[in-house]
């Protein structure tokens, strides 16, 4: 690997503990410029449960591209949604939206309406963000509906708010370690200047004093362009540098990039902000740039559309909510050869077979490959420990698998299953082809279910005990009252004069008289 020397660049000697080096398949799509996809005439968006009651639009209403669909006041723990295209809202309601469970989620459909003239919606421009208050910038990030575009889709404003004034370093994650995906690579090659600006904005909002770009050594052109952009960035307020690391999967995991760049580890069950770090994805800071400088909400993103069934694979600006059906049509994919498509990378992504499903904010890549080779079923684990070798967080996956398959939840918690990042490296190397990550997801979900059940039952126990105590107290109080009454009655009886109205004495007197009389008669 040729090393590119510059004062902004340093090469990290740190390596992932474990990790894999799968074939990259990146050259399929990283040589062409980002194109704009022919806009779909219909988009579908998922409405987060928290926002269902705060929709600003109703069925039949016309919306302009970029118009907010939800009320910004209520999005603290969720993210805003904007119309990706202009058109009429044709459907709001519960529909299947690709969730693994097959359960319905609330969705909203917009169809293009040629009758209506459309004006793209834009925010009020911020003239010079350098002079703007950080609250205003924060508010803009929140309004623009930006989420982590690396794949997690965690609301960015929430992440920023929780690390504000706690972090000194902002790490920009440009690793893009999964095979096939090149969207961040292209974005860096073409828009390095904008990304730098976005990073500066983010860093100034959270109060960081340093920005580090973490990037793998297989993206030479991106590194060069980024370096040039840093050189040319005159308004530099916050120090920037690039750290290049050896290509390996999963170096782009949040915890992994921190380890590779800084040598620090995020303590178990806590966030990077606890060690003064904030990690943002390249595409995310680019979206922040768009929101702040260009005043555009997040309505489309760069998606790598690749695979051997596409004639011209590459990266495209795709509106959020575009269906796979539309992609198949516009990209001229032979759907007879297509069994399934992969949303996301081949290691962590999800295989879908329903062409009605749509791209979401987190969709960075869709792979259209010919039907995979025949399905081989999983064999027994032979404890070869290859999984242990590749696990980036040093777990013992074969042991976790054993306990998951046997539903030994306590043992799993002792083996730190909660630290599993579900990167799929273990599944990739397993010679017995056991779907390890699925087992771990299952185990994690069961563990949290059991924990909830336990909490619920403890609550019920407490309520039951309280009720028992209350009933007991009431009973005792009643008993006390009864005793008091009885006592009072008894006392009253004692205090009563023995012959209150003189009846007894009258009878006695009468008896005495009779006796007297009898005695007299006998005499």
């Amino acid at each position: 690997m040729t090393k590119f020397q510059s004062k902004n660049i340093s090469y990290s000697h740190r390596k992932l503990p474990g990790g894999i080096r799968p074939p990259e398949h990146k050259t399929i799509s990283n040589s062409l410029e980002i194109q704009t996809l022919q806009a779909p005439d219909k988009v579908t968006l998922r409405i987060e449960p928290l926002l269902i009651e705060h929709l600003l639009v109703s069925k039949g209403q016309f919306v302009n591209k970029g118009e907010p669909l939800t009320d910004a006041q209520f999005v603290n723990k969720a993210s805003m949604i904007h119309a990706p295209i202009s058109g009429t809202v044709t459907d709001i309601g519960p529909r299947y939206f690709g969730h693994q469970s097959g359960l319905a989620e609330t969705i909203l459909t917009i169809k293009t309406n040629s009758d209506q003239p459309a004006n793209d919606y834009k925010f009020e421009p911020i003239k010079n963000w350098l002079l703007a208050a950080s609250e205003a910038l924060f508010e803009r990030i929140k309004q623009a509906g930006i989420v982590g575009l690396g794949g997690a889709a965690f609301p960015t404003h929430f992440k920023i708010a929780s690390s504000k004034d706690k972090v000194d370093t902002l790490i920009i994650n440009a690793m893009e370690c999964e095979p096939y995906i090149t969207c961040d690579d292209r974005l860096l090659q073409e828009h390095a200047q904008e990304i730098i600006e976005g990073a500066q904005i983010t860093a100034s909002v959270v109060g960081a004093t340093k920005i580090i770009f973490g990037i793998e050594d297989n993206k030479l052109q991106a590194i060069k362009n980024l370096d040039k952009a840093i050189e040319n960035y005159t308004a530099q307020r916050i120090h920037m540098e690039i750290i290049v690391v050896e290509t390996a999967y999963p170096s782009g995991g949040e915890k992994q990039i921190i380890q590779l760049i800084t040598g620090k580890e995020v303590p178990s069950r806590s966030y990077p902000s606890s060690i003064g770090l904030l990690v943002q994805n390249t595409a995310t800071v680019h979206a922040i740039y768009n929101a702040v400088v260009k005043s555009k909400p997040l309505t489309s993103r760069v998606v790598t559309l690749t695979g051997d069934l596409i004639d011209q694979p590459g990266n495209f600006w795709v509106p959020i909510g575009t269906s796979v059906e539309h992609l198949i049509k516009t990209l001229n994919i032979d759907s007879t050869l297509l069994d399934s498509a992969i949303f996301g990378g081949p290691l962590m992504g999800e295989t879908i077979t329903d062409w009605k499903l749509v791209t979401q904010k987190s969709t960075n890549c869709i792979i259209f490959n010919k039907s995979p080779q025949q399905d081989r079923s999983a064999k027994e684990c032979i404890r070869c420990a290859e999984c242990e070798v590749v696990c980036p967080v040093s777990l013992v996956p074969q042991q976790l698998y054993w306990h998951s398959a046997n539903q030994q939840w306590d043992a799993l918690e002792q083996h730190n299953i909660s630290d599993c990042i579900e990167c799929g490296a273990c599944t990739y190397v397993c010679p017995s082809e056991i779907p390890l990550v699925q087992y771990f997801r299952y185990a994690k979900s069961e563990i949290s279910f059991n924990r909830e059940k336990q909490q619920q039952s403890e609550k019920s126990k407490k309520r039951f005990d309280n009720r028992e105590k209350r009933l007991e107290r009431i009973k005792q109080e009643r008993e006390l009252k009864r005793q008091q009454k009885q006592e009072a009655r008894r006392k009253a009886a004692e205090n009563k004069p023995s012959d209150p109205d003189g009846k007894k004495s009258a009878i006695a007197a009468a008896l005495a008289r009779v006796k007297q009389k009898k005695a007299n008669e006998n005499e």
Binding site: P17, I20, P22, P179, K255, Q259, E265, V266, P267, S268, R269, S270, I342, P346, L347, G349, E350, T351, P372, Q373, D375, R376, K379, E380, C381, I382, R383, C384, A385, E388, V389, P392, V393, S394, L395, V396, Q398, Q399, H415, N416, D419, G424, T427, Y428, V429, C430, P431, S432, E433, P435, V437, Q438
Partner: protein, 343 residues
Amino acid sequence: MNKFHQGRSTSQVMATACFALIPGAFAQIYFQGWGVLINLVICASTAITAEAIILKVRKKPVRETLCDFSALLTGLLIALALPPLLPWWMSIIGCSFAIIIAKQLYGGLGFNPFNPAMVGYVLLLISFPIEMTAWLPAKSIALEVASLTESIQLIFTGYTTSGMDVNSYRLIADGFTMATPLDESKTALATGLMSSEIMAQADFQSNLTGWFWINCAFLIGGLSLMLLRIIHWHIPVSLLVSIWLTSTLLSLYDSDLFLPSTTLLFSGATMLGAFFIATDPVSASTTFKGRLIYGASIGLLIVIIRTFGGYPDGVAFAVLLLNIAAPTIDHYTKPRVYGSETN
């Protein structure tokens, strides 16, 4: 779930291990005669048949499971551990026991706490100690060398048509019975000979050379397994280093009483054990540190058993003893999980 996979399957791992045995097997056939080949055939077919029968009884898919080649590997390993002219029924008992009791009764591949091949071997060793130590002298010094037909006759009937039995093939030129160098040296040391005197005997030397080449052949097979990343370096390297270290220390203490380290490293089943038996993934330790401890302990035990124990070779016992300890070793050598404070 996605089918993005490295592509190496359990069957391939096992099959590669079988192939890697080929150089060692050839060397052993060359130096120990046709009996080794016959053993290989008997053991492999017994192991596969036993596995098939028990899978049928357990109502498991027979053909798919046989295709993981683990039974074949077990059979081959037992065959290579057995003396060349062992009666056929003993080989069958050993292999059936290994597959049925040591492997399938525990749940089949992946569930056996002990290395099945070594369980089968040890069963035979403690049941038939005389037959199981009846090794042949190297071809160069042997009085008689059995042909293929004679080997078949010896294995299946105990006698050749000319009336010879196994013991007559064990004689060397001056009428002595020759055993393996380890056996021989142990007996000689017990009679008061010095280590250097034993090493100086011409017969002993030529016998030792045969075993040296057999071990070298297994070493080549093992190294290729390591290059193919079928096995990791930890167990073989720590095992061999431990043997070398322990025996060097012993001969430093008294070079007259103890054999030199090269003799221990290149005789008996050292290389077969280090690369093919101790590395059996199912029964070995799995963590990085654990494997080092596991390998080193096996090496130490091999030297101790060979030097002070009652049996001439100790690989099988050492491996089985450490098999029991493997879960405990794993438990105490769990790697530190990312972000956790303690081990």
